[in-house]
């Protein structure tokens, strides 16, 4: 009995020592993404993009002489899980910086944990305005908030000249925030806002909402949700004979996946996106874009994922740049360094500007926004 205990003790000690040794050799970055549930497709793409960045950095020798290690956790598309996973990453894995958490509601759920443990997070996808305006100094966002999207959309609104616009948005902070920001912008332009319909994030049948929109006298519908639900909406809109101009926002459309899954139903739809993998030469950083796309294809991933995965790539490069600038893998130093970085992202330079109440500002970078249109199963660029 004593011998067994002794043996167990030795093993435990050895494991602890090994664990300690491994920890000292790598710098951990926590990744909090939805790998299952309603946003599984998007979260998986982002994580795959993050892995490309980590491998690229490690191939060049890592940062501060150490390799970076991504600690990836699944937040199950569920805000409660997202907060729990953040806590686990910070307290148990001891990551000094996080990237996450894809959806606005997921990110908002994580934010109090960042305050509690004073750990910074790079927000790669979420677009609700609330994230950078509520006074959380641990938030550094590289994706555009919906107000920036709405501002970018202003130019095209004059050309499309809609008179009345309906909304169909996902019933969470992202969808409702978008409806609010876009309505505000369009009302200023004298456009009438008609219906604002919502759908549950897991809903598969939107026929009722679409039937209602079909019955309204608007000619344009703004749709905000992720790719899986968009596919269903296009198919169901076609089945209902809904013949209105559909414009999607949020940059989580993965147009190629829509073309593959919704077929002809996707023709004529327009999408506000934050990356142009179809036209690398038109992106702000063609060289990096080409490298990323080549690497993505080399790994056998579907091209459709590029419009999401680039965020994981940029997010990890942002975190790594901050760690390098900080000179040490500690939360407070990384947080301070995030304000000083200036890296070439795939969609413009990543430089954080202050946003939110004074004294506890969040960081917000200003990425580009583009409008594309699907025609005959192909992606075309619309000039803004």
């Amino acid at each position: 009995m004593t011998r067994t205990l002794g043996l167990v003790g030795t093993i435990a000690l050895a494991t602890a020592l090994c664990g300690g040794a491994v920890q000292a050799q790598t710098i951990k970055i926590g990744v909090n993404e939805p790998l299952t549930g309603a946003f599984a497709a998007s979260g998986t793409y982002v994580v795959n993009g993050a892995k490309i960045a980590a491998d690229e950095i490690n191939a060049k020798g890592g940062i501060l002489g150490k390799k970076i290690e991504l600690v990836i956790e699944d937040n199950k598309s569920n805000p409660t899980e997202a907060a729990a996973v953040a806590e686990k990453l910070i307290t148990s894995d001891k990551v000094p910086v996080l990237m996450g958490a894809w959806g606005s509601s997921l990110t908002l759920a994580v934010m109090p944990k960042l305050m509690e443990y004073e750990t910074p997070m790079v927000v790669e996808t979420s677009s609700s305005g609330k994230i950078t305006t509520t006074g959380n100094p641990f938030i550094f966002r590289i994706s555009p908030p919906s107000a920036v999207e709405a501002a970018a959309f202003k130019g095209i609104v004059d050309k499309l000249a809609p008179k009345k616009v309906d909304f169909l948005v996902i019933n969470n902070d992202w969808g409702r925030g978008t409806a609010e920001d876009f309505s505000k912008m369009m009302k200023e332009k004298g456009i009438t806002i008609g219906l604002v319909e919502t759908m549950d994030q897991g809903a598969q049948d939107m026929s009722a909402q679409l039937s209602k929109i079909k019955g309204s006298d608007s000619e344009t519908v703004i749709v905000t949700t992720a790719v899986d639900q968009l596919t269903l909406i296009f198919k169901q809109a076609a089945a209902l004979g809904l013949k209105k101009r559909i414009i999607t926002t949020g940059g989580s459309q993965n147009p190629d996946q829509i073309i593959a899954q919704a077929g002809a139903a996707a023709n004529g739809t327009m999408h506000l996106t934050t990356f142009l993998p179809w036209f690398p030469d038109k992106t702000p950083n063609p060289e990096a874009t080409n490298y990323f796309i080549t690497e993505w294809k080399k790994r056998g991933f579907e091209f459709a994922g590029c419009t999401e995965s680039f965020r994981g790539y940029d997010g990890i490069r942002t975190a790594a740049a901050a760690i390098e600038k900080a000179g040490k893998a500690e939360p407070a130093a990384i947080k301070a360094a995030l304000w000083d970085i200036n890296i070439k992202g795939l969609n413009g330079n990543i430089v954080f500007r202050k946003s939110g109440p004074e004294g506890k500002e969040s960081g917000q970078s200003q990425p580009n926004v583009y409008l594309i249109e699907i025609n005959d199963g192909k992606v075309e660029m619309k000039t803004l």
């Binding site: 497709a41 897991g202 899986d228 209902l240």
Partner: protein, 290 residues
């Protein structure tokens, strides 16, 4: 008015599949007194069988449907033989826990095999919808409605017109007496669970191509199936069919005229009302207790 008609058409199409989901679950509960938490996973399973047969093997869409039904039948029989038979006679809580375990294990299994990214299945139906005046409906959904109606009819005939069905009904009323009358109760239990499972798989196989296929697709479906079963009265097949259409109507009109944000809550509001005013379900027969 045309919007209202469109909502009614949507309700018919949706109600048919809800009914199909409900009868599989109510059958198993009524006859076996088992709360089948694997119902949603069997639904998902049926959808993935469609994906394998149509997309991965490249075989005919219409051939894939009976394959999915058969696969659901076999998986259901396997669950009954390995998990439920050894637990026969144990209390309902134990069985429930085992079924919850099976649900989680099977759902994780689908996630492990196919990953979390949604899949879609190509169908032979034209993309242009059938337009009738101001309303339109997709051919695929009409086919789904027809197939669901046929499956419901077959189940009804099976229960009410065959000797297997008579034995099932006898077991439902009193399994001890049925056993004394020479009914092979073990066989009845296995068949019942297999039939209920094949109906869930059929619903998944029919709806998978309409929507998209992913490991958690069965969760919402199962919750709705439970709602329908409670609405119609436990073990009541006709009640489940009507319950399916009532739920679809409540969702359509709720989303269309009240608020779309509460669409999926409509069903539960009805359940709460039913549980308060008619706790045995809207169509429950008087049941002998003890």
């Amino acid at each position: 008015m045309s919007e209202f008609l469109q909502h009614l058409i949507n309700m018919l199409v949706l109600g048919g599949t809800y009914a199909l989901l409900g009868i599989g679950l109510t059958l198993i509960f009524g006859i076996m007194n088992v709360v089948n938490f694997t119902h949603g996973v069997l639904y998902t399973f049926g959808a993935y069988i469609m994906f394998i047969v149509v997309q991965q093997l490249g075989l005919n869409f219409f051939l894939a449907l009976p394959v999915a039904v058969l696969a659901g039948w076999l998986l259901g029989a396997a669950i009954e033989l390995t998990l439920l038979r050894p637990l026969r006679g144990s209390d309902i809580d134990t069985t429930m826990l085992v079924m919850i375990g099976a649900w989680i294990a099977m759902q994780s299994g689908t996630l492990w095999i196919w990953g979390g990214v949604a899949k879609s299945v190509a169908t032979p139906f034209p993309e242009a919808p059938l337009v009738l005046g101001s309303v339109s409906v997709s051919w695929l959904r009409l086919f789904v409605l027809a197939a669901a109606a046929m499956l419901i009819l077959v189940t009804y005939l099976l229960i009410n017109k065959t000797s297997l069905g008579r034995a099932m009904r006898a077991t439902f009323q009193d399994h001890d007496t049925a056993s004394l009358m020479g009914v092979n109760v073990d066989m009845i239990y296995t068949s019942t669970f297999a039939i209920g499972s094949s109906l869930a798989a059929a619903a998944g196989a029919l709806l998978g191509p309409v929507y998209v296929i992913f490991p958690q697709m069965g969760d919402l479906a199962a919750v709705k199936a439970f709602a329908i079963v409670i609405l119609g009265g436990l073990g009541n097949i006709t009640g489940a069919v009507i319950g399916g259409f009532i739920l679809a109507l409540a969702e359509e009109l709720g989303a269309g005229y009240v608020s779309s944000g509460y669409r999926d809550a409509m069903g539960f509001l009805i359940i709460i009302a039913v549980l308060i005013f008619r706790p045995t379900g809207l169509f429950a027969r008087a049941e002998r207790v003890g």
